[in-house]
């Protein structure tokens, strides 16, 4: 069972209260971009085993989208943060590094 804290209403929301929005921090390639870029944006995901940034929506609660950093193998949650964040914030990176010393944001 995955439990994420909604950064908007502060509720410790269990997975069944949330709906998934898949990978976070994607760079959008829209009209005018090359077919390759568009295809990559739509379909190509690293599908990491380990630290992952995700979008979630507190669907049964306050209805807000937020972002979460968690480990896909252990379900360990490193933190959640506002959806209006273009890149993982420093405190989330710190929290991950303190638990996964060999992890770096580029991977």
């Amino acid at each position: 069972m995955l439990t994420l804290k909604c950064p908007y209403c502060g509720v410790q929301a269990c997975e069944t209260e949330l709906s998934p929005g898949y990978e976070a921090h994607l760079k959008r390639f829209g009209p005018g971009s090359s077919d390759d870029d568009f295809e990559t944006y739509l379909f190509t995901r690293p599908n990491v085993k380990g630290v992952h940034f995700e979008r979630w929506r507190h669907a049964y609660g306050c209805g807000k989208w937020f972002l979460a950093a968690r480990c896909t193998t252990t379900l360990e949650v490193f933190g959640t943060y506002s959806a209006q964040t273009p890149a993982p914030p420093a405190e989330i990176i710190e929290a991950i590094k303190s638990k996964r010393p060999d992890w770096s944001p580029e991977t």
């Binding site: 209403c9 669907a59 049964y60 609660g61």
Partner: protein, 183 residues
């Protein structure tokens, strides 16, 4: 004008707690940025104080960072909505009477927390009275708050009121007490 009817028509069910239709309740939904000073000022000119996160105070419930629910008498809701709408004319806001779109139920009795805990993924041991918890009640969305340790009010969509009444009735069936909050 047709007569307004509460969807459960006053249904009452007695198990280890009593589940009852709370009857017609006035509800006004306000959508606006609650952190915006203009919004707060407009609301306070109508006598509405924005509660802190997830609280319900004097019938004003915090539902989301941009949503309030005003709970009042059924007959008073249209006038209240009109008053708030007028006060918020210059702010980016939506005010609407949702009394007939929702249903309100009450759960009463010593096992109230237990009846709810069986259905909702909520830590009822730490839920304080006066805190609104929007959550999943079995398979549908609902919001509830404890008035005190033994009384709760539940708001759900009118279309699922019968389902909510049914699952609460089953959850409160005599002999199915777990006793987790009374140990």
């Amino acid at each position: 004008m047709s007569n307004a009817m509460s969807v459960l028509e006053g249904a009452v069910s007695t198990g280890f707690v009593t589940v009852r239709d709370a009857g017609l309740t006035g509800m006004v939904s306000v959508r606006a940025d609650l952190t915006d000073a203009a919004t707060v000022a407009a609301l306070s000119s109508c006598g509405i104080t924005v509660p802190v996160v997830r609280q319900i105070v004097d019938g004003v419930a915090w539902m989301a960072p941009d949503e309030l629910l005003l709970v009042t008498e059924y007959a008073d809701a249209p006038a209240l909505a009109q008053k708030v709408q007028a006060a918020m004319a210059d702010t980016h806001a939506l005010v609407h009477v949702v009394s007939d779109a929702r249903a309100v139920l009450r759960v009463e009795g010593a096992g109230t927390k237990e009846a709810l805990a069986k259905l909702c993924p909520v830590d009822l041991a730490t839920l304080a009275p006066g805190e609104v918890r929007r959550t999943r009640l079995a398979q549908v969305a609902a919001a509830f708050w404890l008035e005190d340790a033994e009384n709760a009010q539940i708001i759900c969509f009118r279309s699922v009121a019968d389902y909510v009444f049914g699952v609460l009735q089953m959850s409160a069936r005599k002999g199915s007490e777990v006793g987790v909050f009374t140990r």
